[in-house]
Symmetry: C2
Subunit: 157 residues, 2 copies
């Protein structure tokens, strides 16, 4: 858990989650985002709906849910292959809304990998309620150094 | 043109565009966004790729392009019907990337409207290059007071 968080913020993060240290770009702008490692190559992403995520109705903006889907579903490629990647196609079905203060979670399931093209089935939910389901097509670009939580990661001596 | 902009910012906004005054929530967080009114019920949205829109490769993040698609394509419902609306499904194909500093534009074309369900075909581009195409399914919620640029808008005496 980061030392940068206030006590209230830390209390608001569910057990097992740690903040992703995305310090620049769009990932930082729409954060903070959190990750829970569920085993080698297995992880769930999460965020709490704050005011800067809301739409005109005071619920989580659809753009935020889609951005989160892109990150949470595409994450499986990093976890399994330690490649950088880009999104080729994303199909998202909006099933229910998330309200201010709710903790939203998401992860993807790798359906197929062929010629560097990954097909991922994904889900986003809060508590027992599914918010979004969909499919992402992602393209691997190039291998990079494996990071903690990824299958290829080895602790250095 | 807003007085809040520096001279450099104003110079960077193409002719005919005015900044959308989204002062809260997700719209503000990922902004600034701009709109060019092309006639009653006709408008194009735009934004310039800034550092807070970028991914790890330094290009515009796919989540930003999808969020922008949601806004730029769904906008047609506000323009034509002055209803508030939510997104039901969004399908986005990523054709090309946008680089830091490029001005990105987008708009939707209303294909069908039935029982409060709107089907919109959309495109996002920068200069001559198409970045994203796709289809959005949106649901109208309730009528609201028409705003300037919308077909139902009438200037008050």
């Amino acid at each position: 858990m980061s030392d940068d968080l206030t006590e209230a913020q830390s209390a608001a993060i569910p057990d097992g989650y740690a903040q992703l240290n995305w310090t620049r770009g769009f990932g930082r702008q729409i954060g903070p985002l959190y990750e829970r490692t569920d085993g080698p190559g297995e992880a769930t992403l999460g965020f709490r709906v704050e005011e800067h995520h809301t739409n005109g109705l005071g619920n989580c903006h659809g753009g935020m849910l889609m951005s989160f889907a892109d990150m949470a579903w595409g994450r499986i490629i990093s976890l399994r292959r330690s490649y950088s990647w880009v999104t080729v196609r994303l199909m998202t079905d909006f099933l229910s809304g998330a309200q201010l203060g709710e903790f939203v979670e998401g992860r993807g399931e790798l359906l197929a990998e062929e010629d560097g093209i990954f097909t991922v089935r994904g889900r986003i939910w809060t508590a027992e309620r599914t918010l979004m389901t969909g499919t992402g097509i992602f393209k691997a670009l190039s291998p990079r150094k494996p990071r903690p939580g990824e299958i290829a990661y080895r602790e250095e001596a």
